[in-house]
Amino acid sequence: MSGVSNTLQIVNRNVKRNFRIPQLLIFSSIQPVVFLLLFNFVFGGAVGPESGGNYINFLLPGILAQTALFGAIQTGVGLAEDLNKGVVDRLRSLPIARYAVLAGRTIADSVRNVVVIAIMLAVGYLLGFRFQEGILYFLLAIGVIVLFAYAFSWVSATVGLLLRDSETVQVAGFLWVFPLVFASSVFVPVATMPSWLQVFANHQPVTEAVNAVRYLMQGMGSGDAVWHTLVWIAVLLTVFIPIAVWRYRKIQ
């Protein structure tokens, strides 16, 4: 029980961090909105017809997944910053649960994601986005994307603990996030890519998550994407939570 209470305190600390540091707030909320506007108006004309006529309905689920991944980078960056500033040492010298620092960070980042997703949906609504499959499926879609982001926060936490320098973590973040985001169905239908790339694009987690959200919000594609995404989330959590906690224990 005290582990849960410890975690809640760290969540509280990190939520304050995410919302009180202006650069972080702008980076995490304004940037995805800029992407949404840019892609909608720049690509909308060209890709619109391929995507079934209503590009914003196609694009928004994709941008949500992109936001999840870009946001995840900040989990690792923040952790590396805390390591270097001695905040982690202070917390490690307290009698608290070992997992609390990592769980507190990843959960706080999920809280931020919920807020950012709400902003995106509001902007999307103004651009003409409408969900088609009822409120239940809509909420399920939000749940899937938040869980998806949570899983990638743990990937990023692992990267942060391995590299331990916030700028390096930031740069490395783009290295692993860009291929996942762009070689996916986020912006364009996978069928428009060369066939060798389609093999990767069709099976990687971002495409599955985007397709799951499109299915749940718009009735597009097949419902298989939903459980494929859940499997990916389970796999990522099962692999990366133990690695991150192990690295955390090894900090010197």
Partner: protein, 322 residues
């Protein structure tokens, strides 16, 4: 006198601690004992192993070998029990910019398992004690360096630790703020807290520490009270400065008269002579210089300072290592 016996109990007992980082032996079979309700100082140049030893004593790092007892708890066998009894204030003043002073202390209180009213009460007490009430509800990014140190110290005091570890608590502070922190430290000792502090400032060790360890290259070189370390050099020091042109001649004249070696400090061009009878020899040196028609711009005799001790045992001055 039961009082005396409790005072003599060891709050920290480190035995044979060794830690290797790759090929670097950071600590080599180090022993350290700290008595209860006393201030023990750990001195040494940067990279000597001070922070490594602090990290080991505060459960942040495991040694390759050795035993560490803190407040009666085996730190290596039961780190979580040890964490309940210690406080740590690091050299970076690890307080979050975006939290207020009050929020920082409250969070630490809750992490120690206090309920909300307890944590609030304790935060208020510490804010008052550390003179931070006016700034309590401002984010700490608006704090001065001294205020951050005080808050960091406050965070380490939340759970009323028995043993407090201070890793260079006053590095980078202005003299007035340093004195303020010294007062707080002395106050804590009066209340029975055992303190282990590292410092680069020898005058700080001299002013605060009941017992001093000097570490260099991962080894304990000397230990003792400030007084005993100074008198271990056993001798007074005569220091004088002459013009560059007269330097060699002055050295020769004094060496002939006192039959002992004169050191020349390359940096300051001062001549230094160790002597057992400071005042007599001072007069003799003055007379000899006059006879040789040499002029001393400065001439003094003083007891060895901790800086002299440091120089004698490590081969370099504490100040030039920073």
């Amino acid at each position: 006198m039961p009082d005396k016996i409790t005072n003599d109990k060891l709050a920290i007992n480190v035995q044979g601690v060794t830690k290797q980082f790759g090929t670097l032996k950071a600590l080599d079979t180090v022993d350290l004992k700290a008595r209860q309700s006393k201030v023990t100082g750990l001195l040494g140049p940067n990279g000597a192993g001070k922070s490594t030893l602090i990290k080991i004593m505060t459960t942040l790092l495991s040694p390759d070998d050795g035993r560490v007892m803190v407040d009666g708890v085996d730190v290596l066998a039961d780190p979580s029990e040890a964490r309940k009894r210690i406080g740590l204030a690091g050299q970076y003043a690890a307080v979050d910019d975006f939290l207020t002073g009050r929020e920082t202390l409250y969070m630490v209180g809750r992490l120690y398992g206090m309920d909300s009213p307890q944590a609030k009460k304790r935060s208020q007490e510490l804010l008052e004690r550390l003179d931070l009430v006016d700034a309590a509800d401002r984010q700490t990014k608006t704090y001065s360096g001294g205020m951050r140190r005080r808050l960091d110290l406050g965070a380490s005091l939340v759970a009323t630790p028995h043993v407090l570890f201070l890793d260079e608590p006053t590095t980078g502070l202005d003299p007035r703020t340093r004195l303020q922190l010294w007062d707080i430290i002395r106050d804590l000792v009066k209340q029975g807290v055992t303190i282990l502090l590292t410092t680069q400032y020898l005058e700080e060790a001299d002013a605060l520490c009941d017992y001093i360890y000097v570490v260099d290259h991962g080894k304990m070189i000397v230990e003792g009270t400030a007084e005993s370390l100074k008198s271990s050099l056993g001798q007074d020091v005569i220091e004088l400065r002459v013009s560059d042109a007269q330097l060699a001649r002055a050295k020769e004249v004094i060496e002939q008269r006192l039959k002992t070696e004169v050191e020349v400090d390359d940096l300051t061009q001062r001549l230094r002579v160790r002597t057992t009878s400071g005042t007599d020899d001072l007069l003799a040196v003055a007379a000899e210089l006059k006879k040789a028609k040499l002029t001393a711009e400065e001439l003094s005799v003083h007891r060895p300072s901790l800086d002299d001790v440091f120089l004698a045992v490590t081969g370099h001055s504490a100040k030039e290592t920073k």
